[in-house]
Symmetry: C2
DNA sequence: CCTCGGCAGAATTTCGACAAAATCTCCGTC
DNA sequence: GACGGAGATTTTGTCGAAATTCTGCCGAGG
């Protein structure tokens, strides 16, 4: 009852609360790639001691969102275009494999879930403002659910968890590039095509469409990222904390 | 100079040393699935304070080798036959996807690496004792290298890291089942067939052979595991630390 | 002018003690 | 005899300080 605030008293332990906040700050791009994460500053900034902070950072490092340098602390993971390439490739390979298996094993309940997820996604507006593009959290959640539903029948929990992790990393790159709406694209149509192919049990077509879906976004984000950072930028330069 | 012992003073920090030892103890089966990991006992047992121990456990939980129960500490991850199924399926899907891409992208250097890895593996004895089966660490390392070499040209670092993690989890199940040599199998021939198909750029055949390679081992291990635990065993029962 | 060695300063890592939560025990009651 | 609850015990989670390690700087030497 008293857990009313958005992220207030929901976390049972300080370490998990700090982990969640820190992760959100990295994923949203508020903490830029390569930033040195000084324990003291963080502890003060997030209002926690060194122990929970350290634990949160350690977990983040295991998730790939931070890097650990022994005896030299932590830093936010780099985000160079080359790394984005590897990420996209990992995503395409992992998700296509999961999708193929899902199509092979999926039953009627899986089909229903895919249909429902796509329907709900179509009911939501991509942007909260019809004039200027501004991401709609509900649409993002629906989008996530749709892609999860597609893979869910593959029967490989670890692989699904891995796909979730890669999805989050990809979200970070999107936030960093701050790419607005993509021109010349009809994402709803792409989703519809993927769903149709999956429900038709056409694994090859569905995988190809899904791969295209991710590679297109990756190309846009990569171009924007490269434009900002310039060629040769590693994304791990030693920037300092801004606030 | 003083770093003579096998795993003695190599780790720069206590937390990483404890993490390594704890992980090895879980992977080798010395710490059985579902075991409650009490912080005090562990700290005493491994000769470290609570902070490094906690950090190691947190990392282990992120890797999937331990489970975290908020305010109730940690326990060794379960190892039920059903979980093994999911693991094998994840492995087959992930590694086959990586192998296909590796075959598609691999250059001459990749081919060389595969040939060399297979050759070296064949030069090593599977068992240190020709009479009674006892795993040869060198063969294990060579085996690991061979499978890594196969996938290495896929250009997806995250996916490769994921495959490494799944390989370790699989090793844990093998250790738990303590399966001796597999009857009616010629692993060297299986490896040779996989390598040949890969070098011939026959992605379908190579993936099929690799999948068979893992599924066979999985079936043996699963059978042994089921025989020990009995049907319905969850593998997360609350056992206590033995010493 | 450039390089090397050592000396402060800062940061990370670890320790031991404290506070909060969960589990267990034991007793009274139905 | 079984159930439920209050208190004691155990265990986890957190804090602040000490020890160890890294970083940057300054001066001596080539």
């Amino acid at each position: 009852m008293s857990q009313a605030t958005q992220n207030g008293a929901r976390d049972p332990t300080l370490a998990t609360a700090v982990h969640r906040r820190l992760r959100e700050d990295i994923l949203s791009g508020r903490l830029p790639p390569g930033l040195k994460l000084k324990l003291r500053d963080l502890a003060e900034s997030y209002g926690a001691g060194a122990s929970p902070m350290r634990e949160a950072l350690s977990k983040l490092a295991a998730e790939g969102l931070a890097e650990r340098l022994e005896h030299r602390g932590f830093r936010v993971a780099g985000a160079a275009p080359a790394q984005l390439d590897g990420l996209i490739r990992s995503r395409v390979l992992a998700e296509c494999a999961a999708l193929r298996e899902s199509i092979r094993r999926g039953d009627a309940a899986w089909e229903d879930a895919v249909v429902v997820a796509e329907h709900r996604l179509n009911r939501l507006a991509r942007s909260v403002d019809p004039q200027r593009f501004a991401t709609n959290p509900e649409w993002e959640a629906g989008h996530l659910r749709f892609h999860q539903a597609l893979l869910e029948a593959c029967g490989a929990p670890q692989l699904l968890a891995f796909c979730d992790r890669l999805r989050e990393e990809a979200r970070r790159y999107r936030a960093l590039a701050n790419t607005a709406a993509y021109p010349d694209r009809d994402v709803a149509a792409e989703h519809a095509a993927i769903a149709r192919a999956a429900l038709d049990r056409d694994a090859e077509a569905a995988a190809a469409l899904l791969a295209q879906h991710y590679e297109r976004t990756g190309a846009f984000v990569g171009a924007d990222l490269g434009r900002r950072a310039g060629p040769g930028e590693t994304g791990v330069a030693g920037r300092r904390l801004g606030g």
